[in-house]
């Protein structure tokens, strides 16, 4: 421990010369700059993903509306209406962008990079150059995914899950790699596969770095059981990612080979018969993709929520002025969710043709994930109990995370229950569930994190009134948008349907969909308040000082924004991060505050 500290200190001392603009802000090895780079790029992709979502919503509410501007933009015409394949492309790309280019890189890339060294008292990541590389490996991915929109036949339209044989079928090279399953398209899928490969490599470099940094670079006194929940969550997430990612990488390579070289990993022995083309005999299994894909993508669901849980735990404790309740139970439940997360991938495949007896095992494991989730919820409630709640924008978003996670968690039990899943599988019920977890929970957690750490990132506070307005509108409209999806699912509306007026159970649901789409547009417009607030505060916001929230964790000991190397002196940690309230005249005890017999720590040993 001490030798590695010394080593880092030496490196640090050598780097005290002025860096050029390019080295300081573009090809930077500083974890804070890299984190902010991730933040800006992913927020740009959030705008793209949101715009795609609004187009999806438009089509759901007014399936026969003429949208001539769409055909003029994207050169696809169906009498001025949106084509079915264009709609399929919209939701496929909405999901791909939001998952791989927004939520994962925002949580792991932006917040992971920014908070880890600061919150454990390290001057930087263990491998700063690898860290820079992990950001720059995202760029080929960004470019490939954007180029796919302009590929012949458009961006991929086989869903973000890219199930073979719809996604993987490909004519031989001589016939231009067109997909026989979706005539005149299929090129976008190749860009998608390559793009995700780069995302994977980038995430892998990040994970290795986070794990090493957290294990090796903690400042003196920062024992594992003194680490804030944000760090615990990012630590466990990084482990999860490091173990799950190779499987996705393999799956992506296999599908790329199927598409480009004509291998048959996902082609069944008897081959397939498309309207215009017959494949030769294959030797593979379409179900193999689903196993490989979900073996990564289910843990990925937790990669997309656990860091937000960690951040929200710290934010709630800070603004409730109350020690986080059940600190060790919180850590163990995150570890429990992550551990169980590896043995539940089959719950995406209950109706896929997988052996139903296997489904039983996956069901029991899946339902048991509700237990650590429930423990976390009760602990958050108990943290607020007898608190002294300060309603800042960050706190409101964090509390809304809890309120929304309850809905998303409870609705998950329906899908986990195999017989009930027979009915609601691939209906809007699952769409409701995943949006309550990914948008209403993760993204609200991300907003909480942005409002909370903005002063540390840029030295200025975001405007609180605008923040609260942003919160209020977001909270109302997201529920107006997502909650009725439960009802749609129970009523039998299938997901991924460009025209809901065909099926007998679906056509009566148009008016409810119109209400939801109006909420979606209102939700979209509300985000402009955030964009304005973000940029206004960046330049004109109130100067924050080191510790505007009177918080205990180490990053608030450093200047705002912290300089290169973060801390003036390496901080020495004397206590856990949750000593709030309870100390009479003293409001809170920072982690660096020396032990004082008259104000004992709230942490039991």
């Amino acid at each position: 421990m001490s030798s590695s500290q010394l080593h880092v200190g030496e490196v640090h001392a050598h780097e005290h010369h002025e860096l050029s603009f390019i080295h300081k802000y573009i090809f930077s090895t500083d974890h804070k700059i890299i984190g902010i780079q991730f933040l800006f790029t992913t927020l740009l992709f959030l705008v793209l993903g949101g715009a795609l979502a609004l187009l999806v919503r438009t089509q759901l509410a007014w399936p026969h509306a003429e949208l001539p501007w769409i055909s003029s933009w994207f050169l696809e015409s169906n009498g001025g209406r949106m084509t079915e394949s264009f709609y399929n492309m919209l939701f496929s790309m909405h999901a791909s962008v939001m998952i791989f280019f927004v939520i994962i890189p925002l949580l792991a890339g932006a917040f992971g990079n920014f908070t880890i060294p600061l919150m454990i008292g390290a001057p930087d990541m263990a491998f700063p150059k690898l860290n820079m590389l992990s950001y720059w490996f995202m760029w080929p991915a960004f470019i490939l995914i954007l180029v796919s929109f302009f590929a012949e036949g458009g961006a991929p339209a086989a869903g973000w899950t890219s199930y073979p044989t719809l996604a993987s079928s490909s004519m031989p090279a001589g016939q231009g790699f067109d997909s026989p399953a979706a005539p005149n398209s299929g090129h976008g899928q190749i860009f998608w596969l390559l793009s995700l490969l780069f995302v994977g490599v980038s995430s892998m470099m990040g994970s290795v770095n986070y794990i090493t940094t957290i294990i090796n670079m903690r400042s003196p006194g920062m024992t594992l059981y003194r680490m804030p929940m944000t760090i615990w969550a990012l630590f466990i997430t990084a482990i999860l990612q490091a173990f799950a990612l190779p499987v996705l990488t393999v799956a992506l390579i296999l599908q790329s080979l199927d598409k480009l070289l004509g291998t048959t990993f996902f082609l069944p022995p008897a081959g397939l018969e498309f309207a215009n083309w017959e494949t030769g005999p294959g030797g593979g299994q379409p179900l193999l993709w689903q196993h490989l894909f979900w073996f990564y993508s289910h843990p990925a669901v937790y990669i997309m929520i656990l860091p937000a849980m960690g951040m929200v735990s710290d934010i709630i404790s800070t603004f409730a002025r109350r020690a986080l309740f059940g600190y060790r139970a919180m850590i163990l439940s995150i570890a429990g969710i992550a551990g169980l997360g590896f043995i539940v991938w089959g719950h995406h495949m209950f109706q896929s043709g997988m052996d139903p007896r296997l489904g039983t095992g996956f069901m029991i494991a899946t339902i048991m994930i509700a237990l650590p989730s429930a423990i976390k919820t009760f602990n958050w409630l108990a943290t607020v109990y007898r608190g002294n709640v300060q309603y800042t924008a960050a706190m409101l978003f964090a509390l809304a995370f809890v309120a929304m996670f309850i809905i998303g968690g409870l609705s998950g039990i329906f899908m986990a229950a195999t017989p009930v899943d027979i009915y609601i599988h691939d209906t809007y019920f699952i769409v409701a569930h995943l949006h309550y977890v990914l948008f209403s929970s993760s993204l609200l957690g991300i907003f909480a994190g942005i409002y909370y750490w903005f002063p540390k990132m840029f030295g200025r506070l975001m405007n609180e009134s605008l923040g609260k307005l942003h919160f209020t509108l977001t909270f109302i409209f997201l529920n107006g948008l997502f909650f009725p999806m439960h009802i749609l699912g129970v009523a039998g509306l299938r997901r991924r349907i460009p025209d809901i007026t065909n099926a007998v159970l679906e056509s009566p649901l148009v008016s409810l969909n119109q209400f939801m789409t109006l909420c979606a547009f209102a939700l979209g417009v509300s985000q402009f308040i955030f964009i304005y607030n973000f940029f206004y505060s960046l330049f004109r916001g109130e100067v924050s000082g080191r510790n505007p929230w009177h918080s205990n964790t180490l990053e608030w000991v450093a200047p705002s924004p912290p300089g290169h190397g973060n801390f003036e002196t390496i901080p020495v940690v004397h206590r856990w991060p949750y000593d709030y309230g309870d100390y009479g005249s003293i409001d809170h005890l920072k982690q660096t505050d020396p032990p004082d017999p008259s104000h004992p720590s709230g942490q039991h040993h």
Binding site: A329, G387, N388, P419, F475
Partner: protein
């Protein structure tokens, strides 16, 4: 001032709860009437989970809203009571690993764990009954399911019935080994193609027929991409997987198809209880797995005839209308 935030949370959560309370009474906003023998069990499990999760939703959201109201900006909070360290026993053991463990934590771990285990194990019998291949309806005698082959493709369901004579033969009381072998040979496939097709097999498109109370065994496969055989009213959903044939079965408890003497056609969406046409009795097979641009309109229908006689009347009618002009009883067709 801060207390008002609890009102915002409370109102929004009440609106959500209200929507779930109102929806069952809005005709098209809730589960469609289940019309298969197992739909009751599936719905019962749905309601059990709905009530349990509904209870915990109200409990946790109410606590959150109440705490947000009660503890809004209270300077000088009361210290959290600390529990005296236990001497020996379960709690002392617990405190060795969880120094901050609280008695209430033990309660809110064990109680949800038991409830969740109950929910999980309550699903198992129904699930295996519906899906487990080994519990497939028995062959032999009058209870033998009728059988059809559904071959999914972009973007329709091609259905193949055996001839009425063959189907009757399967269901006779004196089922011998030859009949059973014939029953099985119908469901024998080479890829998605039947291995032993008969020239008198009856092909139809986008319609699956059976009669009230009669189990139908659907041999499901696909020739191109993954589709999903989804009949919401029957609580049936099964993906069709390239390279595999998956048996799906259900037993309708109600009929929806009657013979219209005037038009000489069979019409579905008929409610025999009220004696009137009723859109609630149109039972669709709506593909539930994204299968390409035409996915949304890949919709077939389930026709449940009132009785065996009417079903055979339909099947024979189709046979006659589709009979090849010469040599109807050719042996196995060459593929």
């Amino acid at each position: 001032m801060g207390k008002w935030w609890s009102a915002l949370f409370g109102i929004v959560m009440l609106a959500c709860l209200g929507m779930f309370m109102v929806a069952p009474f809005v005709p098209t906003w809730w589960l469609p009437e289940g019309v298969s023998t197992h739909s009751g069990q599936v719905d019962a499990l749905f309601y059990i989970i709905l009530y349990i999760t509904g209870f915990f939703f109200v409990l946790t959201e109410a606590l959150l809203v109440y705490f947000m109201y009660k503890y809004a900006g209270q300077p000088g909070t009361t210290p959290r009571p600390t529990e005296p360290a236990a001497q020996g026993g379960f709690y002392a053991m617990l405190h060795r690993w969880f120094p901050d463990a609280h008695r209430v934590e033990v309660a809110w771990t064990i109680v949800p764990a038991l409830i969740l285990l109950f929910i999980a194990f309550a699903q198992v019998p129904t699930w295996l009954e519906i899906k487990d291949r080994s519990r497939k309806p028995a062959i032999g005698g009058e209870k033998t399911p009728i059988q059809c082959h559904v071959s999914a493709r972009q973007f329709e369901w091609r259905v193949r019935y055996p001839s009425s004579q063959r189907l009757r033969n399967w269901q006779t009381f004196t089922t011998n080994e030859k009949t059973i072998a014939d029953f099985k040979s119908f469901a024998s496939f080479d890829g998605a193609k039947p291995r032993h097709p008969h020239l008198d097999d009856v092909p139809v498109v986008n319609e699956v027929h059976t009669w009230k109370g009669q189990t139908i065994l659907v041999q499901l496969n696909t020739i191109d991409v993954i589709h999903s055989f989804n009949v919401p009213h029957m609580r049936v959903k099964q993906d069709a997987l390239p390279g595999r044939t998956i048996p799906v079965w259900f037993t309708p408890t109600k009929a929806n198809t009657r013979y219209n003497e005037e038009t000489k056609r069979w019409e579905d969406a008929f409610n025999f209880t009220t004696g009137k046409p009723d859109m609630g009795y149109r039972w669709e097979i709506a593909c539930a797995e994204l299968c390409g641009w035409g996915h949304h309109r890949m919709i077939g229908r389930i026709y449940v005839h009132e009785n065996k006689a009417d079903f055979y009347r339909w099947l024979e009618h189709v046979e006659q209308s589709q009979a090849p002009p010469t040599k109807p009883q050719q042996k196995v067709a060459a593929r």
